[in-house]
């Protein structure tokens, strides 16, 4: 009984919105009112758990309310490709998967698991997203992946108090950033906290510097390994990074201490009870740790500045994101396509944006939908970067090179942090590892 009442309420509500909407939206809204997917079901798999899962479910619920399709969510944990692979073999494939790495989208597409997205989804993507995001969803000139959620990995977080105490200013260039770090260090607080125990923050450091210094074209070549890591641009970027790492006193605990600092710890060292550093570099998700685990006010106790440009370059914007793909093995093809088309709309992005912890690459999304100013700024810098956004390079590489604890790029950059004296050798070691991984 209750359910019928609820359903009626939803239908009534929709009719009312449909009537209230008016204008150009009228026709689609009227269609929505019909609940064209009533009776169909849709299964979506993604890596999200916890709060992210809850918030994504809000998006699913909004889709249900709009189309009448019944939706369910599967969390795959970290290893999407293994889980999805076994589900396909088991005849129990989800209809839509939210894939967090470019490399995995390519892997799925080349295995023939993916259905190219519908012309409607393509048109919507072309209208709402920068071309670079479409390109990252395209494999062998077929459009498979729609980037729904994005992250901005070009944000340096700082404690305004630490900078004020040191009389330092927010830097505009990489060199100024080192000056700022020196000033903060002079005040008795090391300038940076570097999460060296986890390997991936080091790859992100490198990627920002490389993107700014060598430019997007070289970045793409290197990401696809069409250019060797021994290229002078790589050596130069490593030297630039090494110039910071070599100044032991700028880093909390020195290089040795950095290698014993994992990612949450590095954030805590800046924004925890007893600050041990003034700045920490990582993506927009740092704000979640600051407000969630450390109970500080983002925007007040913690601010960020965009990763500054290295001399001769422009400010880099390295991003990441989750792409929605439709599996051929899924049983509900129609609902899957409609769902992905829905994800391309600013409407869908707004649902999660209002819930927080989300950035959308959708240019049509009104940034007023985000919950706080800091998120608005990170979202704005991501969208404003337009075509120059580049996807996290290590996420584009084979996992053996770009995504494995204790080996590949992670390990080599950790060794570089331990001893930054020879960028040339490091580049050589990187190339050897890359050759092996890209071959396999």
């Amino acid at each position: 009984m209750k359910r019928i009442v609820a359903a009626t309420a939803v239908v009534l509500g929709l009719t009312m919105t449909a009537t209230a909407c008016g204008g150009g939206q009228d026709k689609t809204a009227a269609q929505d009112g019909k609940q064209e997917l009533k009776g169909q079901s849709l299964t979506v798999a993604a890596v999200w758990t916890g709060v992210e899962q809850q918030n994504f479910k809000k998006v699913l619920d909004a889709f249900s309310a709009k189309t009448g399709a019944k939706t369910s969510f599967i969390s795959t944990g970290d290893n999407v490709s293994t889980v999805v692979g076994s589900k396909i073999e088991g005849g129990n494939a989800p209809d839509v998967v939210m894939v967090p790495q470019v490399g995995v989208v390519q892997q799925f597409a080349r295995k023939g698991w993916l259905r190219p997205l519908s012309p409607a989804a393509r048109t919507a993507a072309a209208a709402n997203f920068a071309k670079v995001w479409q390109d990252y969803g395209t494999v062998d000139s077929a459009f498979y992946g729609l980037y729904f959620k994005a992250s901005n990995k070009s944000t340096v977080w700082y404690s305004p108090k630490a900078l004020a105490d040191a009389g330092a200013t927010v830097p505009k260039s990489y060199e100024e950033m080192i000056t700022t770090a020196s000033a903060v260090t002079d005040s008795g607080l090391p300038g940076f906290s570097v999460a060296g125990e986890a390997g991936w923050p080091l790859t992100d450091w490198f990627e920002n510097i490389y993107l700014s210094q060598a430019g997007p074209q070289n970045y793409d070549k290197l990401a696809q390994h069409k250019m060797p890591w021994t290229d002078p641009t790589v050596v130069k970027a490593l030297s630039t990074l090494g110039a910071l790492f070599a100044k032991d006193q700028l880093i909390s605990g020195g290089r040795k201490g950095a290698l014993e600092t994992d990612f949450p710890e590095s954030v805590e060292q800046v924004f925890g009870k007893q600050p041990k550093a003034g700045m920490v570099y990582e993506g927009d998700f740092v704000s979640g740790l600051i407000s969630g685990d450390l109970h500080k006010n983002v925007g007040e106790d913690a601010k960020f500045f965009p990763f500054p440009a290295v001399t001769g370059g422009t400010a880099p914007v390295v991003g990441g994101g989750d792409a929605a793909v439709a599996l051929k093995a899924g049983k509900n093809q129609e609902a899957a396509m409609k769902f992905i088309e829905y994800l391309a709309t600013p409407e869908a992005a707004a649902v999660w944006a209002k819930a927080g912890g989300f950035l959308s690459p959708n240019q049509k999304l009104d940034i007023a939908n985000y919950t706080d100013d800091t998120t608005r700024q990170t979202a704005k810098s991501l969208v404003d970067a337009g075509e120059t956004v580049r996807f996290d390079m290590s996420d584009q590489a084979p996992a053996a090179f770009g995504g494995t604890q204790g080996s590949g790029e992670w390990k080599i950059l950790q060794d570089f942090l331990r001893d930054p004296s020879s960028p040339k050798n490091t580049a050589q070691v990187l190339e050897t590892a890359a050759l092996k991984a890209y071959k396999g």
Binding site: D186, S187, G199, L259, G406, S407, G440
Partner: protein
């Protein structure tokens, strides 16, 4: 029925009896096979098939589609990571089982002699009840570098600080100034020669204003005096910025209790300590050229403890955790052997005037030989497949320094390498390593049965 038939045949009773025996033997064989079949099937499916499959898989490439011959094996022995894993596994094999057996023997003999032996044994055996995962996480914390978290380093730092005084200004340094330069072995000295009548301003930075002693007062420029070397050591940093480098500004405080040395021709000719405003003074200095030094003792970083999880100590540290878990096992088994030793022999030895040490060496240990072999061999096999502790305790940057074969096999196959061909090859090598030990074990079993 059939027996009757045989008997009626020509050829006699002897032949009949023989066929009957053959038949009964055959029937027994069939019975044996029938009874053993479920076990054989299970073994075949769970042990035999995987071994064969792994051997075959190791001859194929990562995708499993192309025959690769022995490529995986050559790649394996050319890969530094695998070589490191082999080296570490060798260390484990050489150290852990012997150490554990010895430790178990020692504890077993000792617990024989103490009251509360059972309680003690339970305590030592307790870690066996904890999963490797939980034990690994616990030891990861125990070995943590930060003395606030790692209990071992808390002890190390506590013990160290009880005997050595902490330096007053750890981490203080110059701002790359013209006046002071770093000297070898730590500390700072004046860059230019100093003469009597000079007054120096020695600015340091890199200290938190809150880390200064309470006595620290506004720094003062020391007034120059004839025949004296004077100066100020101060924190050359104004909160909020804006100070001039190498000059005493308002709101810059002195660094009291700093040791200052006056040096002439490599010889220390004078000591002084700074006052609350940071000033120091060497009086009645003969004419000449001097250097003023701030010795390293002022700036020594506090002792940070031992870096257990660093590349050098990681394998011993993990072996330590392994000992903690398995000592109970060795002790209980050897203890059981000990309690079943014939008492008469020991008593006879005592009556003959043998000392305790002699009894231990000449009687207890030889008699315990078989039990100790069991413990040793079991641990040997166990050590070869150690995986979880290494995976959990070793932090990312040193994982390769702690790597062992079993972990490398997993890493290569599933943990990012996604090359199950190479992984199978490592598995086969691991199998080949275990086989001799197994053969030894089976032989010993047979011997003990006869």
């Amino acid at each position: 029925m059939s027996v009757m038939n045989h008997r009626s045949r020509p050829g006699g009773a002897a032949r009949g009896a023989r066929t009957a025996r053959q038949r009964s033997v055959r029937r027994r064989k069939i019975n044996a096979v029938v009874f053993a079949l479920p076990a054989l099937l299970l073994l075949g499916a769970l042990v035999g098939y995987p071994i064969v499959f792994a051997v075959v898989r190791s001859l194929f490439d990562a995708s499993g589609e192309h025959f690769a011959g022995l490529d995986n094996y050559t790649e394996m022995f050319g890969d530094p990571a695998t070589l490191k894993a082999i080296r570490n596994t060798a260390i484990w094999i050489a150290v852990a089982p012997a150490l554990l057996t010895g430790l178990g023997l020692m504890l077993a003999v000792l617990t024989e002699k103490i009251r509360w032996a059972t309680a003690f044994k339970v305590l030592i055996f307790m870690p066996m009840a904890i999963s490797f995962l939980a034990a690994g996480i616990t030891f990861r914390l125990v070995y943590e570098q930060d003395p606030q978290r790692g209990v071992l380093n808390a002890v190390a730092v506590g013990a160290h600080d009880a005997f050595t005084d902490a330096s007053p200004y750890p981490g203080a340094r110059t701002r790359g100034s013209q006046v002071l330069e770093a000297q070898k072995g730590g500390g700072y000295r004046t860059a230019r020669p100093v003469r009597p009548g000079d007054s120096l301003t020695l600015g340091l930075v890199g200290l938190k204003p809150t880390a200064l002693p309470a006595t620290a007062a506004q720094a003062k420029t020391a007034s120059a005096a004839a025949g004296a070397v004077t100066g100020t050591v101060f924190l050359d940093f104004v909160p909020g910025g804006g100070g001039r480098p190498d000059a005493v500004d308002a709101r810059e405080r002195g660094l009291p209790q700093m040791t200052v040395e006056l040096v002439r021709d490599q010889q220390v000719v004078g000591h002084a300590a700074t006052g609350p405003d940071g000033t120091f003074r060497f009086d009645a200095v003969p004419d000449g050229s001097y250097t003023v030094r701030l010795p390293a003792a002022n700036f020594a970083e506090p002792y940070g403890g031992v870096s257990w999880l660093g590349p050098a100590l990681i394998t011993p540290a993990i072996i330590g955790a392994y000992l903690w878990i398995w000592t109970g096992f060795a002790m209980v088994l050897i203890g059981a052997g000990l309690s079943s030793l014939p008492r008469e022999v020991l008593e006879a030895a005592r009556i003959d005037g043998a000392g305790e040490w002699q009894i231990f060496r000449r009687i207890t240990v030889p008699l315990l030989g078989p039990v100790m072999t069991v413990v040793f061999v079991t641990l040997l096999i166990n050590v070869m497949k150690v995986f979880d502790l290494v995976y959990i305790i070793a932090p990312g940057p040193v994982q390769q320094d702690a790597n062992v074969l079993a972990l490398q096999m997993w890493l290569v196959s599933f943990g990012g390498g996604n090359n199950q061909g190479l992984g199978s090859a490592i598995g086969v090598v691991l199998l080949l390593l275990v086989v001799p030990v197994m053969v030894l074990n089976i032989r010993r079993f047979r011997r003990s049965q006869t």
